[in-house]
Amino acid sequence: METFDLLMQGFSTAATPINLLYAFIGVLLGTAVGVLPGIGPAMAVALLLPVTYSLEPTSAFIMFAGIYYGGMYGGSTTSILLNTPGESSTVITAIEGHKMAKSGRAAQALATAAIGSFVAGTIGTALLVAFAPVVVDFAVSLGDPSYLAIIVLALIAVTAVLGGSKLRGFSALGIGLAIGLVGADPVTGQQRLIFGQPLLVDGLDIVVVAVAIFAVGEALWIAAHLRRKPMQTIPVGRPWMGKQDWKRSWKPWLRGTAYGFPFGALPAGGAEIPTFLSYVTEKKLSKHPEEFGHGAIEGVAGPEAANNASAAGTLTPMLALGLPTNATAAVMLAAFIQFGIQPGPLLFDSEPQLVWALIASLFIGNTLLLLINLPLAPVWAKLLQLPRPYLYAGILFFATLGAYAVNLQTFDLVILLLLGLLGFAMRRYGLPVLPLVIGLILGPRAEESLRTSLQLSAGNISGLWSEPVAVVVYIIVALVLLAPLALKVIHRRRPESVLLGNIPQAPGETAATDDDGSVANGDANGDNDSDNDNDKDHDKDTGSVLPEHAGSSGGGPAEPAGRHRSDEIQNERERS
């Protein structure tokens, strides 16, 4: 009941005219950046950070939330009409969505995507309301050793699970952690990595780093490979759905939501896996399997819902624990830090008004998005005709302006350029950007927890695993790191069964989760095969870092993690 009261208070804050205005600006901008190629919600929030300094933090975050959700809606429009998904989370939508558009059913594809996003976003946000306080209650009881372990898990999971090459992921993580070291050490005041530059004593401005990596690096990268011929857009009328479309869409929406939310909430869940799982599930359950590959509406409805539900899921660890699990959440956390708000489990206590207004605004923003997306889809599609020179010059222009406006220092522009070139090189050589940003944000917090933990244990290293939660989390970390190794051993022993995706199920797997488990494992194997060299290198590395957990790698460690996910999915299913 208390939660409900807080949420109602949140609504009363979010529904003031000025905050409604910011929510509206947010969803408009979000849809626009989602539709526009080359610019996504993470970059949009980063570019807006400097502009929002003078705003009330609550208003700023309401706007950011609108951009975040809006980006999801806009992204589906591009992938359906253009078949060029801007973000990995909408790749699956493009498969069936673009086929539908080509066969003259663009209106229905856009409608099921928008309404499905609304349904999933609303249910997902309701789940966020239900779960976040529970997670907070649990998290505030944790000490520094456990908190450190959870941060380590978040860093490792984002780095090792997402992306193609783990080695390149860890390289990016190292760079991010190193950037986070710059400046005066908060405990002793010792100056690290400042190279005699007094302007570096306060550390690199997180806004400047985010803008450099997300905006400048991206703009330079696209400029270097700009597609010169215009792309074919499919003209579209007003989105609508017939009775048959509704009938075929509502179940995929709910199932997609059930996949999306738990995966979004996991440290390395993201939106790729649940959208993929949703697609496979719908294909299996559909009464019209022959339509898949030629534009089946279920293949749009399910993945789009999964995508939006995972966005809501992502906000759970971000608000409850201060852990970002995707790029937009990372930039929003950077915004908290900029506003002088300490993210973490205490956020709900220290800033209840902000948090609940933010959550309430998600409901409002989601409704606004449905209203502006259904009738206005043809207008949004026109944005795609914006001349590219203006688009990318504009990104550079606003990146420069924003980075300069933070401190009015030319020095920041030099940093912006250098880190922008770094971002360019990372895109060129396939270093993922996310581990860098997460390392930058979580590195200083990990160090703080490390020092407090060992302070409490008077320097005794066993203080790091003095809490049961910490031990459990470190075991999960070890499993995440060693799973590829174990899979490879299985692979070597039973090549034929693994190729077919028939990983032996751990005892206790219920029949209902069989589908999920084998799909996830099959996927993991696929990644593994293409990435053998890196895995090998990486395993050597981890073997030396975590010898004490080597013993626990025995029996198929991939399964517990997989099963954990499947269980959560099933819980979600029962609930919805």
């Binding site: 080359g38 300094y53 003078s54 253009l82 801007g86 090459s165 080695l167 390149r168 860890f170 390289s171 993580l173 190292g174 760079i175 190193a178 070291l181 050490d185 405990v187 002793t188 010792q190 690290r192 990595l193 990268w221 696209i222 400029a223 270097a224 490979h225 700009l226 597609r227 010169r228 020179p389 203006y390 990318y392 010059a393 504009g394 550079l396 222009f397 420069t400 302006l401 300069y404 406006a405 009015l408 030319t410 030099v414 350029l417 090189a425 895109r427 050589y429 396939g430 590195g443 990990a446 160090e447 490390l450 020092r451 060992l454 302070q455 008077a458 320097g459 060299d533 890196n534 290198d537």
Partner: protein
């Protein structure tokens, strides 16, 4: 020598490994140069994390170099407007960087309105637009608009430079 050259050909990614290694060495050297007495209240001290990070970077650098020499390569990032079939187009990137550097050099002396105009106009030109007049007008409008927008809307006073007193 010739053999070495042929082996290094197309392996520009080794430069990335070298960069990572350099970062690692810098981080560790910097940590070594810190001089902190042991403190009961802070047994970890400010050096521990730099050592860990430096070691991580060095290990990654070595493994990346091995990976590249064995024929591994990172997958370049795709995107809606990205066409990876043609190589890096330096004739776009270099002028773009030029416009950026020009802005850094000029912003404090000539002011944002002029340097911002040059930045936008130069970037649009670098990206291939050749409608000089229209681009110029848009550039001026963007720079002036942001100048007044920041001043009136956010209370941030961007440098007026040469146009001090005019604006």
């Amino acid at each position: 020598m010739k053999q070495l050259v042929s082996r290094l050909k197309g392996r520009s990614e080794l430069g990335l490994a070298a960069l990572l290694g350099a970062f690692g060495v810098i981080v560790i050297l910097d940590a070594l140069s810190l001089n902190v007495p042991y403190s009961q209240a802070d047994p970890v001290g400010p050096k521990t994390l730099p050592y860990i990070v430096g070691a991580l970077l060095l290990v990654c650098a070595v493994l990346l170099a091995i990976n590249v020499l064995r024929g591994g390569h990172g997958e370049a990032e795709g995107g809606e407007d990205v066409d990876l079939t043609h190589p890096t187009d330096w004739r776009t990137v270099v002028p773009l960087l030029g416009a950026f550097v020009l802005n850094i050099a000029l912003i404090d002396t000539v002011g944002w309105v002029i340097s911002g105009t040059l930045l936008f106009w130069g970037s649009v030109w670098a990206l291939g637009s050749r409608r000089y007049i229209r681009d110029g007008i848009i550039s001026v409008v963007m720079a002036l608009g942001t100048f007044y927008g920041f001043y009136l809307g956010l209370g941030i006073k961007l440098p007026a430079g040469l146009l001090e007193g005019v604006l």
